[in-house]
Structures are given as C-alpha cells and as structure tokens.
C-alpha cells in the first residue's frame, strides 16, 4: 500500500468528539480523495464518459451528499471511491491508501475493514437474522465484536427488539436500519450510502437520514451519500453537484430549498 507522505491526506485526524453539538473542526482533514478520476465505458462510437477528470476531497467526520441528474456520473463516482468499480484513469486515495494499485484481495480487505455500505435495496442476506447481518463484516474478517459499540449502534437505531428477525419479517425502514447498523458496527473510515432512502416512504426516509446525521455528529463517522432527493441532501454538511461526469457546483450547509434552487439553476444552464 502506498502511503502518500507528502499529502495532507492521511494525516491523523483529531479524535472524534462525542459532543452533542455539531462539531466542525477548524481545518477538517481529508479522509478520501479522487485525483483526476475518469471512467469511460464502451469503445469506439459507443463510448460513454461517465466521469471526466474529477478531482475531489472528502473531509473526515462530515456527511457529504452527491447529487445530479440520471447519467451525471454520481453513482460511478461513488462506486470508484468505494473500490467497487475501477476507474479508467486517475487515482483514489482512501484513508491514506492509494487503492489504484490494489488487487482484488487488497480491495476486498479494504472494503471489509475500512468501508461501510448502505444500498438503496437494503441488500441484507435473507437467510441471516438481523443480528447476523449486522455482524457479517466482522464475522467474515474473523474479528471480535466490540459488544458495547454494537449495543450503542443497535440502541441508537432502535432495532434491539428486531435482532432475531430475518429480513423478510422486517419493514423496509427496519431493514435499512439494520443495513445502517451493519455499516456502522465495524467503525469504517467511510460509509458509502447509495440512494439509501430511494425505496422508503418519507417518514422512514427522515428516520434513516436522521440516523446518518447522528452518526456523523455523535460518533464522528464520515459518510458519502448519493441521492437525487433535495430534502435528503439537506441533511448533509456539503453537497456536490455532478453533471455530464464533472463536478459543476457545490454547496455548504445546504437546505432543501437552496439545493433545489441550485439544481434548477444548472439544469437550466445545462440546457442552454
């Protein structure tokens, strides 16, 4: 693994503060970055440029939302950042590690030990109970479960009485809470959430987003979330806007109205 000594990326972060107030470190350190990232699908006339030389940094302990219309490359960006997809060119650095040079085995270990995932379709293992689903990454790693942390996560998400249930016995909102718990329980460097509320009604959505917000605020968790819902983006600290494979705008401390306004702005701009 190539650790980039000269880069600010990977410098030790201040210990996550378990404050009740929203913590914004004066100079937030960078935990993940994309440098000149491009992704081109297909060959010849059928090529599609999903990402076009994107460089971006994600701050530790922050909730970043990525927005953009369909085909803007927002999912591709996240998949490349999350070591699920490999870029055509450019580098991805996660927690001080340049993952471009890693083989499947290294990438698997990285995902297992340093990344967490929340998917739109929950993606729980149907044959395992909620508890077994939550501890799955730890079990796969053969690591020991941090029991107090597990309890904290489970209680925060309010799923203690559902632990012995199988996914088919849970509602969509409950399943997504279990998925969140699974992502949190191994204390990953970053959680990637891909449209986490895409399949949920507004009340369940608000609950899930609230949990993600709390895990950032209370546990210092870093989260990168892809969404197309302005009200979901409003829970973020920062919103990146993508269009045609490029970052076209960004917004700190967003509200739903401001997000909607920006989107309308560059959608119109894009059309002209």
């Amino acid at each position: 693994m190539a650790r980039l000594i000269d880069s600010p990326i990977g410098t030790p972060a201040p210990a996550p503060a378990l404050a009740t107030d929203r913590v914004t470190p004066p100079a937030p350190s960078v935990i993940a970055a994309a440098i000149g990232l491009s992704k081109i699908y297909g060959t010849g006339d059928a090529t599609v440029t999903a990402l076009d030389d994107v460089s971006v940094e994600f701050a530790r302990g922050r909730l970043t939302a990525i927005m953009g219309p369909s085909g803007s490359g927002k999912s591709t960006l996240m998949h490349c950042m999350a070591a699920l997809d490999s870029p055509t060119s450019g580098r991805v650095i996660i927690d001080g590690v340049d993952i471009s040079g890693l083989k499947d085995s290294g990438l698997t270990t990285l995902r297992r030990d340093r990344l967490g995932f929340v998917f739109q379709a929950y993606n729980l293992v149907p044959t395992l109970t909620a508890q077994e689903n939550i501890t799955l990454p730890i079990d796969i790693a053969g690591a020991t479960l941090d029991r107090p942390w597990f309890d904290t996560v489970v209680d925060t998400l309010g799923i203690r009485d559902r632990l012995s249930h199988r996914p088919s016995e849970l509602s969509g909102g409950q399943q997504q809470r279990v998925a969140c718990a699974r992502a949190l329980v191994s204390r990953p460097a970053i959680i990637f959430a891909d449209e986490p509320t895409g399949n949920l009604d507004s009340r369940a959505s608000a609950e899930i987003l609230g949990f993600l917000r709390r895990s950032v605020d209370e546990f210092g968790q870093t989260i990168v979330m892809v969404t197309h819902d302005p009200s979901a983006a409003a829970f973020a600290d920062r919103v990146l806007f993508l269009a045609d494979g490029r970052i076209v705008d960004e917004l700190d401390d967003p509200t739903a109205d401001r997000v909607l306004e920006r989107m309308r702005g560059f959608e119109l701009g894009g059309r002209s």
Partner: protein
C-alpha cells in the same frame, strides 16, 4: 410463443446443457444395453450359422433341452448307429460328433483362459465344413493337435510348437500341426485331434451325444429328417439343422434376455435419478422466471400457452439429451466390447449395430422422462397470476413442510413395519417385502425435506466450528429451500442406498460363506477346477493313494427331479464323507448312501412327508422314472447346498462317461501329517491338469469371497452411472441457486468476503448437500440390506455383516463429490462483477 421458448433455452444455455447431460447419461445406458445386446445377437447368429454349416439333420438321444439348468444331460447315441444312418436314402455324409473338453497349455505352461467359457475339443475331419484349415496340416496321431486361431494367439504359440493338452481329463504332450478358424467362439477355446484320438477320448463307452448328417443335393432337411427318424430306435430322435440352430439360439436368447433386463434395471435407476434433476431444474427455472412468466401472462398468454412453453423446453432438452445419450451409448458399447476383448482375447462382435428400434426407444424414453418430469413445474408456472409481474416481491411463499413430512413419515413407518414383518416370518413374503421396500423408499423421498434441517445442521457442524461465518452461510444456503436441497440429495441417496444395500448383502454373503466353511468343511485341502470342465475323474483316486491322506471325498453334480422338486443333487460316496464335510443326520445313517438309496434334506423331506424307507420315482440324469429309496434325512446344509445326496454308483449309471467330471475333491490328511508336504504332493498331482487348484480351508474361503467381490465391483460400476447423474444434479442446483443469489453474493463481496471465502461457502454447501444424500442413502441402504439378509437367513445368509469400510468410503467420497460439484458453480460465482451483481433484480 415458440420463439419465447427458444429465447429462454438460449438464455440459459448452461443449465439447459447440464439438464440435457443428466438425460444423456440415463439414455446412454439404455442405448448401450440395446446396442450391446444386438451386437451379441448378431455374433450368435454367425456362431450358430457356422456351427451348423453342412448339417442338415442331427440325431441325438432323447431328454430335456433345459438340461443346462438341472445338470441332466441327454442320453447318448451308440456309434454303431452310423452304418444304419449311412444307408438311409438321401444321406450324403454322416459323422459322429466327437466332442469333449480339451485344455491347451499356453507358452507359459498355464491353461489358456476362457473367462468361464468351455474349452472345447473336436475331431478333425478334412471334409468338415464348420471350420477352415488356414495354416499347416491336420493332426494325424495322438501327439498332434490343430488349434483354432484365437486360441493359438492367446496361447502365444505357433504351428510347429510343442505344448501340453489335457484331452478329456488326460494330459498329453502334443505338437501343433495346424491352425483352423471357426466363427466367433465367445472366448471358448478349441483344440482339434485326429478322429481316432477323439473316439478314444470323447467316446470311451462307444456312444456320442450327436450324429451330424448332410443331405444329398436336392433332398430337403424335412424330408431327410423323416427318412432318418424312421430308422431310429425310440430312445433317439432326429431334428433338422434349422431346428437345432433355433433351439440353440433360443436357449442363449433367454440368457441374453436376463442380461438385458439386468442392465436395463440399472439404466432405469439412472433415469429415475435423472428425473429428480429434471424436476428440480425446471422448478427452479420456473421460480426464477416468475416475473417473466407473469409478464407473458399479463400481455395475453393463456395458461395453456405457458404450460406448452415449459413443456416445449422439456421436449427440446429431452430430444437433445437422448441424441447425445445415443452417441454416448455407442461409445459405452464400444468400451464394453473392448473390455470383453481384453478379458476373453477375442471379439464378441464384428460391428455395433444401431437398429431403428434402439434409436426409437432411446429417444422415446429420454423425452418421455424429461417431459414427464417437467409437467409439475409447468403446471406451477401456469398458476402464476399476471399480477405477479407488477409485484416487487414475486417469489411464491414457501409452503409448509409439515403435511409432506407427515405423509412421508407415515409411508416410511408403514414400509418399515411391513418390511420387518415380511422378512422375519419363517417363510419370508418377498412380494410383501418388495411393496414395503418401495413404500419405505417413497416415504424417504417424500420426508427428505423434513430431514434437511437436522442432517444438514449436523454435517455442517465441523465446518461451522472451523470456519465460522463461511460454514454458517453455507449451512443457511443449503437450508434456504429444503425441498430443493432434499430433491438434489435424493438423487444421490438412491444410488448410494443401492451401493450400501448391495454391499451389506455381499459382506453378509462373504461372512456367511466363511462361517459355513469354518463349521461344515473339515477337510484340509480342497481341489477345484477353474472352468466348467471340472476336475478330471482320475485325480480323486490318485489323491487317495498318497501316503499321508486319511480320506478323500469327491463330489459331482447331477440333476434329480422328483415331483415338483428339480434339484442339482450332490454326488459322493459315504466312505470318508464324514471326515471332510459335516453332515448332521436327522434320521437314518449317513452310511445308508448306496446304489439307489439316497439322502434328502430336512426341508424337502418335511414338505413331502418323506421318511426313511420312503420310495420315490425320480428322473436322475439320463434315467427317467427311476425308483429311489430315502435312506436318511440330513439337516439342511449350506456346505452341500442341495436337496439330495446320491451315491456315485447311481451317477455312473445315470451320466455317460464323457459327461462325467468331479466338481470338488476334498482331502483330509492323516493325523500328524506334514501338511506342507501333502500340499506339494497334491500340487504335483494337479499340475499336469492345468486348471486344477489346491487350496486349504482359508484359501478356499478367500477365493469364494473374491468371486463375490468381482460381482460387487461390477454392480458398483453399473451404479456409478446414477451417482454421476446425481453429481450433475448437484452442479445444476448450485449453479441455479447462485443465479438466484446473485445480489446476495454481490453484497457479501462488497462487505469484504474474499473470493476464496466465497468459493468456500459454495463448496461447503455442495458438501452439505452431498453428505445429506449420502447419510440418507446409507441409512436406507442399511435398512434394505439388513431386511434382505434377514429374509434370506434360512437360505444360508445367516450372518449379518455391516460393510463399515464401504460406508465410510461412501461418506468420504460424497465429500469429494461435493468439492468436485462445487468447482464449476463457484468459479462462476467468484467471477461475478460485484456492482452488477448487487444491482441485479431479484
């Protein structure tokens, strides 16, 4: 709709091929059996045609044609009849058929092997049309022989070489003067001697079994037969050459029929196992395509069209599988042919004929089994409602296993009780036992899904303990759809149940034989003949003359028929019998055995109400309506294995000298004898006869066990087919279930499951399925095997032996099978693209 079907076949090509393969294996067995039978049939035609060349009428003694079964030969015809026959108008040529056994020693001094076929000796006549001299000249004196080509090749000898030949029990040094060819001999060897030698050796009493007569040109076989019959005494008969050929053919055809039925039974098992795979595959395909089928329904397809669509797929798979099976069957027949060539040193067949009937049967059986197996899944597909297309969660809810379990367990229980009752009765009821066995097997098949949870949990326990989450994921996957796992495992269960059951019987046979020999055989040495020729009659008396021998018992076999009892009676003499074979008399003395006074076993005596002094009328060998007196009743004996013991003097009276031979010679050493020395003396005595072996009690027991093992191995090979089909089934089920679990696999990989770990999960799942089948199969096989042994205990199978080695081997092999079956599906699974997998629609 047909285009939709074809698209679906194309879309699932791998599954399609795997299913077609399981059809193929079953069909190949059927086709191979038919092809082999037809080719043996063709060969037989050729054999009989060449044997009867130039023979228009055959004169023979009267008797039963079924003599092979009872061991009672026909009467013979005196040589003196030749002159009478020659004077019959229309007769061009009449020759006595001198025929007997003639064993040739090969270059290595060992008898040329026949693989159980006879070693034939004939008279050489230059005008005999049934063979052709291809090299050298015919034999002209006692020290000369002509040898058939294949026999000569097997002996590794050439014209001009010298060797030893045992002609009618007499060893002679001989020179090979010529080489002749016959039609195919089926592994039998043939040695020809000059006519005078043949007469002395094969017709010592001045009689032969047949005369062959050739007609003058223009005289029909029928006409000649009538003229010949007119001059024959009442004890002899004349038949046409054509009738003789037909008679020979039909007696062989019956044997061939048994062989065909026997092989087809195994083909049936493989097809039955294959049908499980087909049902499973179609069920899974239908389940996976629920949404697609619902969509087709929603856009206007009728239920009938959905059923027809699924069945059309089945027809395509059935026809393709059958066609492949026909090809493989041809290869199997070719393989069997070369096996025979290796074993017998000769070709049984000139060609491998594929008759239209073979093609028709193979394709019909394969297609009917496939379509029949697809009917239930097709009906299930048609019940998918169009609205399922709109629903997110389109998988049908799991049905409860309780009802199925209760029905299955009830069948199993009734079958088990009925089986126990049937076989533990004094006279076992085999029809009852068969029904009970079928009930038990069906019950096991029906209840298997219920057993999935406990058995799979138990067999995966070591993996869970060792690998933690890998084992648990595998266990959960195997238990996800218990019906499916059970159906997959059942395919293996059936094959392995037969393996275990057969093995229990074989092991028990070996134990019982060893036990009987230990208890009832008290001789120190046993001499046995390696072929049907038996032991030359001169060896017994020679052995008796050795200084250290206390007594010698010679046994032969003769057919005895009394009322409804057709038995192979043991021929011996009372003197010295008690030294060598333990016979417990219930009434009358053993020494009563003499002349027309015979001994009968307890069961037969009780059944017919015979006691000492009873007189019965019997057919003995060539004697008909012969009066026998019961001199004693002996306790049923496994060592003798017969209903009657008759005296040697009666045998000499009932069997022509050319047909006499000893089956066993039992030698009891004098007290304090040097057994090593005696053995070497016996070996020296037996050696010139080439095919007589000398064994002590333990060796005799071992060589008997070895012949059981040979048969057992043959059965294992035949059962291997159904096991291979079952393995294909495991591959198929795994491959399909991986398709179903694509999203889950994507997730597991996303959250950090390594490729090796993933293939571990799939491998453990396959092992769990295979072990599940193996455990059920062993239990079922043990149950059926033990029941069979219980039922046969009064027939001599009185020792139960459990083949632990086989059971452990089966269990270990099933683990290996699991690993092999997982290779392909897991290679596919680890190659899945994580992103695409995770976003696959369920």
């Amino acid at each position: 709709m047909f285009r939709f079907t074809l698209a679906s076949v194309r879309g699932h090509l791998v599954r399609f091929l795997l299913t077609a393969f399981s059809v193929m294996l079953g069909v190949s067995f059927v086709a191979g059996t038919f092809i082999l039978r037809d080719s043996i049939d063709t060969t037989l035609d050729g054999l009989f045609a060449s044997a009867s060349k130039g023979v228009d009428v055959v004169v023979r003694g009267s008797g039963e044609t079924s003599a092979i079964v009872t061991g009672a030969p026909r009467g013979t015809v005196p040589l003196a009849l030749q002159a009478t026959l020659a004077s019959v108008p229309g007769v061009a040529r009449v020759v006595p058929d001198f025929q007997g056994t003639a064993i040739l020693a090969g270059k290595d001094g060992i008898a040329v092997g026949t693989g159980g076929a006879p070693a034939l000796g004939f008279a050489f006549r230059t005008d005999d049309p049934s063979f052709t001299l291809v090299h050298g000249r015919g034999p002209t004196g006692p020290g000369e022989v002509a040898v058939e080509s294949v026999t000569l090749a097997k002996a590794d000898l050439h014209v001009g070489d010298s060797t030893t030949a045992v002609i009618a029990g007499q060893a002679h040094p001989v020179t090979i003067t010529g080489e002749v060819t016959f039609g195919a001999l089926f592994g039998a060897t043939a040695v020809l001697v000059d006519e005078a030698t043949a007469r002395t050796a094969f017709a010592p009493d001045g009689t032969v079994s047949t005369f062959s007569i050739t007609a003058e040109p223009g005289v029909t076989q029928q006409a000649l037969r009538q003229s010949v019959a007119a001059v024959l005494p009442a004890t002899d008969e004349a038949v046409t050459g054509a009738a003789m050929t037909a008679e020979n053919k039909s007696s062989v055809a019956a044997g061939l029929g048994y062989l065909t039925t026997f092989l087809l039974a195994f083909a049936g098992v493989a097809l039955f196992v294959g049908s499980f795979i087909i049902v499973n595959t179609f069920s899974m395909l239908v389940a996976q395509r629920t949404r697609e089928l619902a969509l087709v329904r929603a856009v206007g397809a009728s239920r009938g069209q959905v059923v027809r669509s699924v069945l059309t797929e089945a027809v395509v798979i059935g026809v393709v599988g059958s066609a492949l099976g026909l090809g493989l069957g041809l290869a199997i027949a070719a393989g069997a042919k070369s096996l025979v060539r290796v074993a017998l040193g000769t070709d049984i067949v000139a060609a491998l004929p594929v008759h239209p009937a073979t093609v028709l049967w193979s394709v019909a059986v394969g297609t009917i089994v496939t379509v029949g197996s697809a009917v239930l899944p097709a009906r299930r597909a048609s019940r998918i409602s169009p609205v399922a297309a709109m629903r997110d969660d389109a998988t049908p809810p799991a049905r409860s296993l309780r009802r199925r379990g209760v029905v299955g367990l009830a069948f199993l229980a009734v079958g088990a009780v009925l089986l126990t009752v049937s076989v533990t009765r004094d006279s076992p009821s085999w029809p009852g036992a068969a029904v009970a066995a079928v009930l038990a097997v069906v019950g096991m098949l029906v209840a298997a899904p219920l057993a999935a949870r406990p058995v799979v949990t138990a067999v995966t326990w070591p993996f869970v303990a060792l690998t933690g989450v890998i084992g648990r994921l595998a266990r959960q996957s195997a238990l996800r759809v218990p019906r499916r796992t059970a159906a997959t495992a059942s395919a293996l269960m059936i094959g392995l149940a037969l393996v275990t059951g057969v093995s229990v019987i074989a092991q028990s046979v070996k134990a019982s034989v060893a036990d009987v020999l230990a208890r009832e055989l008290t001789s120190d040495f046993v001499l046995r003949g390696a072929s049907s020729a038996g032991i030359p009659a001169s060896i017994g008396p020679a052995a008796a003359g050795l200084p250290q021998v206390q007594s010698v018992t010679r046994t032969s076999v003769v057919g005895v028929t009394v009322d409804d009892v057709a038995a192979s009676a043991v021929v011996t003499s009372a003197a010295g019998l008690a030294d060598n074979i333990v016979i417990t008399m219930r009434s009358g003395p053993l020494t009563a055995l003499a002349g027309d006074t015979v001994l009968v076993n307890q069961t037969t005596a009780t059944a017919h109400g015979w006691t000492v002094g009873s007189v019965v009328t019997a057919a003995v060998g060539t004697l008909t309506a012969h009066r026998l007196t019961i001199g004693g009743v002996f306790q049923d004996s496994q060592a003798l294995g017969t209903e009657f013991v008759v005296d040697r003097s009666l045998y000499d009276q009932a069997v022509p000298v050319s047909a006499r031979s000893d089956r066993g010679v039992y030698v009891r050493a004098a007290p304090g004898a040097d057994l090593g020395l005696l053995r070497s003396q016996l070996v020296t005595l037996a050696k010139p006869f080439l095919i007589v072996s000398v064994e002590d009690g333990q060796e005799y027991s071992d060589s008997t066990a070895a012949s059981v093992d040979t048969l057992l191995n043959l059965l294992y090979v035949l059962l291997l087919f159904s096991v291979i089909v079952a393995v294909l089934g495991i591959i198929n089920t795994l491959a399909l279930s991986i398709v179903e679990r694509t999203r889950e696999i994507g997730l597991l990989r996303a959250v950090g499951l390594r490729r090796r770990q993933l293939s571990g999960v799939i491998t453990v799942e396959a092992i769990a399925t295979a072990l599940f089948g193996a455990v059920l199969g062993c239990l079922l096989g043990l149950g059926l095997g033990i029941a069979m042994q219980r039922g046969l205990r009064s027939q001599g199978l009185d020792q139960l032996a459990i083949p632990w080695t086989t059971i452990v081997t089966v269990l270990v092999a099933s683990v290996v099978v699991g690993v092999l079956a997982a290779a392909l599906p897991s290679a596919r699974a680890v190659r899945l693209d994580i992103l695409r997998a995770i976003s696959t629609e369920a």
